[in-house]
Symmetry: C2
Subunit: 538 residues, 2 copies
């Protein structure tokens, strides 16, 4: 078996059906090998988009793959892979590279930067594991190690393959994988005992469902757990919709003082708060405006479980959820959800606003759509979007995620139509990826929320010339790429466009024009918090 064949077969067995990237001369054998495997290459227009598409695919599929060339290819995918690292998305980057025998320090091969190792040194800083394949006897172990580590930690890995190795035969032998050390039973018992007694002693337990519930495939178990004990559940901005937000136990998206006020009240007044699988970031805490008493907190992540001020380092969120689900020692609570998101009364027409857009989208049925939001008010405003799948870059917050992520989301879950919300600024970065939607027959609906500016930055600063986003004819642009589109600026027309767009079975763009000053309530609260904090008046 050849090296490339081993790699792609192994990845295919790990459920990778698509590879995102762009070929280049150092990756020619790699692409040739890929095309002989059952994995289908999806060539995007630009590497940053390949990274975002692979990330979205990984979030929904459990593992994603990008295949790029050395230098100009791989170094163009740094930002999306950094985001996948920050947000725990299991993406593997495979890069073609110069032959080891040619790696003479005096040899200037094209695409080389400082040294031949510059590239892997950079990837070491944004992945959990980075390997350069060299010795055929070690290659299978190296490849297995990357796949195992990425699957276990849900963070990116990097494999660099010199191009003359792709078609090298690998010696047949079984390699041993390093195993994760067994968890200590004593640690586990002590932690669980304390958690059970804290929950039973509490009167108002609340759970914040975090993004790792989705990353580690715990969604189904988590719903059962919530229903078993009748816990109220909030989501976070990055963990939007990891718990179905039309569920009767859902209380809103918590984001400190800037998120949903009802969720804030319940969360901050809880005498036993369980944060499950969430990162405690500036965004999630509403720029650190949250008031959570550490004494009442149980925080479980994939890295450890912390109770009040002490940590248990060898156990994690999966252990906790499995234990709680099967425990017979915990009482059922009598929580009744009077705080639930009230169904907004239907509004027929009027000015189109960001709030109205999210209200309309929230009324779409569960089970049919994968929502994706880009950065800016499409992200902040989605606090008020209630759905069952929402992908967003809620922590690292790289603009340009929206359109490419629709590619990955559809290929991972083809039974759902992707609906991407993206501002005009984010769209200008990677929106031409509509081309790949058309080429690959992906019936995504792209909603460009066009307010003519970087409105989030304006909310945190003030109106500035350099926040103006140059005006494009987005519909015409979509047409030039082979898609269709429509431009609307009233609520009535938006409703009609949404009906049309959700029924289309090809890529469709809605340019939704709103006023430059129209921002969501969340963004307004964020702007106020920033101004209070930095007294920014320059």
């Amino acid at each position: 078996m050849k090296v490339g064949q081993y790699l792609f077969n192994k990845l295919y067995k790990a459920n990778v059906k698509y590879a995102f990237g762009i070929p280049g001369d150092f990756a020619l054998p790699l692409y040739a090998s890929l095309s002989q495997s059952p994995i289908i290459p999806i060539v995007t227009t630009h590497e940053p988009s390949a990274g975002f598409a692979a990330d979205a695919y990984a979030r929904l599929n459990g593992l994603g793959l990008a295949v790029v060339t050395y230098g100009a290819g791989a170094l163009n995918i740094i930002n999306p892979i950094a985001q996948a690292y920050a947000e725990k998305s299991p993406v593997i980057v495979v890069s073609g590279a110069p032959e080891i025998k040619n790696r003479n320090p005096d040899l200037l091969l094209h695409h080389r930067v400082k040294t031949f190792e510059t590239q892997i040194e950079i990837f070491q800083r944004i992945t959990n594991i980075s390997v350069l394949l060299q010795d055929p006897h070690l290659i299978t172990e190296q490849i297995d190690d990357v796949i195992d580590t990425v699957l276990r930690t849900k963070r990116p890995g990097y494999i660099e393959i010199p191009r003359d190795l792709v078609y090298k035969e690998i010696p047949k032998f079984r390699c041993k994988h390093s195993r994760r050390p067994e968890k200590k039973l004593e640690v586990f018992s002590e932690a669980m005992e304390e958690i059970v007694s804290r929950i039973n002693a509490s009167r108002k337990p609340v759970v914040i469902a975090g993004v790792e519930i989705e990353r580690f495939g715990l969604g189904g178990k988590f719903i059962k757990l919530v229903e078993k004990y009748n816990f109220p559940v909030a989501t976070s901005i990055i963990g939007k919709a990891v718990f179905p937000e039309h569920h009767k136990n859902f209380i809103g998206t918590y984001m400190g003082a800037v998120g949903n006020p009802a969720a804030r009240k319940l969360v901050e007044e809880s005498d036993c708060l369980l944060i499950l699988g969430e990162m405690i970031t500036d965004t999630n805490t509403g720029l650190f405006t949250s008031h959570i008493k550490r004494e009442n907190l149980i925080h479980a992540s994939s890295e450890h479980i912390a109770i009040s001020h002490h940590n248990f380092d060898e156990i994690d969120i999966t252990d906790l959820i499995n234990y709680l689900l099967n425990s017979k020692k915990i009482k059922k609570f009598s929580f009744k959800n009077s705080f639930a998101q009230k169904k907004a009364p239907p509004v027929k027409d009027g000015k189109l606003t960001i709030k109205a857009i999210f209200r309309e989208l929230s009324s779409l049925p569960d089970g049919k759509y994968s929502f994706i939001t880009d950065v800016g008010d499409c992200l902040f405003g989605c606090v008020d979007l209630n759905a069952d799948i929402i992908l967003n870059p809620g922590y690292y917050a790289s603009m340009g995620f929206g359109v490419p992520a629709a590619i990955g989301a559809f290929l991972a879950l083809p039974s759902r139509k992707p609906i991407s919300l993206v501002g005009d600024g984010g769209f200008q970065m990677t929106g031409v990826e509509i081309s790949t939607l058309v080429k690959s027959d992906i019936p995504a609906l792209i909603i460009v929320v066009n307010n003519g500016a970087f409105s989030s930055l304006e909310a945190m600063d003030r109106k500035r010339d350099y926040f103006t986003v140059h005006s494009w004819d987005y519909v015409k642009l979509a047409e030039s790429l082979g898609a269709e589109g429509i431009r609307v600026n009233t609520l009535k027309d938006f409703k009609k466009a949404l009906e049309l767009g959700t029924q289309k079975n090809k890529a469709f763009l809605i340019e939704a024009i709103i006023e430059r000053s129209d921002i969501s309530e969340t963004l307004e609260r964020i702007g106020n918090a920033v101004h209070r904090k930095f007294s920014r008046k320059k």
Copy 2:
């Protein structure tokens, strides 16, 4: 004086009139300070484009500047800055960043990857100097040091500014700059004596003019030197047009066996070859198909001077050119240029080909245009483009350079109209930057050479589905961004379009359709060399 004010005033004095980038929340004070300085911010659609624009600006202006935000901004500019490093373009990247006091390892601020230092560690690998500003007492020295190093080495530098420092007052004191050590007179004399005697002993000296002649501002002196001794001059692919290619001493672009055959003959048969300011890369040597006898070689770069097999490490190309220009010891040669590029006879019509496109462009007058080529056959084919300014990524070879570079080229040299040649693949990466051309009133002419494929990769491999570039309506796309355009597929129509496009005083796009299999002679030779080398038949 405030930190931001000091930085931007100092950069302005170093001839930086424009800054390329995109604001973001960690860069809000930085942009506010920038807008109070005389430097004009040019906001592009995407950070990779800002990097390419700053690079092109730096090549023509002597120093370029990109201003970005932390994380999602800065890590999205890695590839173009890596290219600027590889190709010696003096670009300074200034990134906003989190406050030092907030850099608690447990604090998850958005845009952060592994640690707060991940970003600077990555920039250290693609710049010659990277600094994080912290102590107000050291800031002026740090800033001066970056500017000096970038100007001296023509390689990028990186300045990271925590956002609370931008408006901090800096203590008034004069700082001492480190000075470059004096060159050793003895080294210099010995080297010059040997070079003079080698030149005088030769019968057929030839000079290859390299890219550093332009980077170090030696163009004018170099022409005088050539005319004083009547040396024949070849250029290299990355050093295209650093010597005016309509000059009577120009013999063609040397690229080993794959470049201009006439230039190859003269270069490889020379008994005294001077390579001045060139990197000896795989591209420049036509994938190492060059046959240059090291014994006959004098190779001067900004780093050292090498003669035959020995090096002089403390002297450089500037020393050599100054010495040769003023020397009275060297004879004048009797070279007569029978190898010059023959003026191709005018062709009126026929199928449009890549060769015909370069022939038409070569007939445009000197002094009026800055030519820019993207990667692929726009780069390889430009061996046959003779002009007086050509910018290209001839070594690192990142696609997507073409359109953004037109922004930087025009702002650096507004007396010349930029003409960018870009393939359909390269255009799809960053072509929407036409938006910035329109917004900033830049009358660039963009020629999209549309053959529907990554034809260079096909020449090195074979026809493959994944080399097909999805078809766009490029004219309609240009219109959607506010520019005009025209589509042509015959020579006659291309000539007319070129006449129209060169006369327009606004951004204009020509979609030049050629056949998928139509490649330049250079690319054909490259393809053959690759197939011979790798016997690639998969």
